[in-house]
Symmetry: C2
Subunit: 258 residues, 2 copies
Amino acid sequence: MAVARGVLLDLDGVLYVGDALLPGAGEALARLRGRGVPVRFVTNTTRRPRRAIRAGLSAMGLAVREDELVTPARAACAWLKERALSSHLLVHPDLEEDFADFRADGEAAAVVIGDAGDGFTYGALNRAFRLLMSGAPLLALAKNRYFREADGLSLDAGPFVAALEFASGRRAEVIGKPTPGFFHAAVAGLGCRPEDTIMVGDDVESDVNGAIAAGLQGILVRTGKFREEDTGQLDPKGVLVSDIGAAVDRILATTTDG
Amino acid sequence: MAVARGVLLDLDGVLYVGDALLPGAGEALARLRGRGVPVRFVTNTTRRPRRAIRAGLSAMGLAVREDELVTPARAACAWLKERALSSHLLVHPDLEEDFADFRADGEAAAVVIGDAGDGFTYGALNRAFRLLMSGAPLLALAKNRYFREADGLSLDAGPFVAALEFASGRRAEVIGKPTPGFFHAAVAGLGCRPEDTIMVGDDVESDVNGAIAAGLQGILVRTGKFREEDTGQLDPKGVLVSDIGAAVDRILATTTDG
């Protein structure tokens, strides 16, 4: 594994599960901080605003600066700003605050779709569809197929992105992991080159193989959503370790100071 | 155009628009009946049950026998019966009566999806998704992208079929036009061969080109949803006429008696 100058950490399944810190996660992060390794926290969640994610981390004893948290909503706002577009939101109500500066107000709008949950009604989807048919671009915060809930698998944003793509005959611009642009934006915030950056995650496709495809290094942890069969999917350049503590051991062994 | 022994007629846009008969439609149908040409009425609508479709035709003065009306719901019931499956319905509430003999009752079920309109809630889609993930087949009454309403275009069943296909990683079995099996089932009811049957419709892709691809003959009428640019899409074997009256002129000119 090459020398690492910066680290990207997935949140859910790497540092915590639910609202409980994983064993050794706090200490592992403190060791990275102690060695001055710049870190970004890179999540695909589109059901919680940045404020709530940071509050949750803080409640678990992890202090994360505003600029250290990389979410699809933040990347989407940068995308909208670049194009001087407002947003027509088809997202979870809790996420709307992250788009406060980009609300539709009569100017040109993009349809922004995330995991809206019960907000995916026929009426809301139809309003988004009509905007697409009148020329609005479609910006997908993520295109995950489903996620696991306590009572079973549940539809994520991806199927609804696919529905609007099929209806409009147009392709969505996807923002979150494993999009290379999402990793590159996080890496740019670190001031590193992609090849000097290590992504640590529990999702073999979205976190680890995606990062490697984007030119980063990748470490897969055996916590969170990891399943033994994921090892067969892991990119040969990827590294498999037990947990965040072992990942940090590995990173620090290859990190040059200064 | 070869000799015709049987005729398939689309309904909306060919015989009527809204609840008004098109000029000459009643007389044209009477001429077909008078010459003893067997007819089937072939519609893709999945928002109205068979009973309501026949009642609407009757109110416009058109008597249509139960066995003459071919709908995706009827084809779906035949499909379910063949496989001894019950149905988990994701369809418009008005359509449920057409599946009265195939309601889920604990045995193996297929997910049957039509244009459910406001019935497409997150919860209903998620229940269907979970059944698919536990092995249920997905039967789509149609896969149309959208339809035109008074206030604009609206999402049809197709986008929701695409959503469940994307989420489950499985393909739907599509039942309605332009599926060859749907045309062939209607032709079988006539007791004709496909090449001796003419389909008359206002939808160049779904009615006319679809019928020709299934081995039938096809006539496109300039009524209903017909737009001048459709002529460029028409299969070279297809025939273009002004309306149902002209279509019947053409059919009777090539029909042998007895």
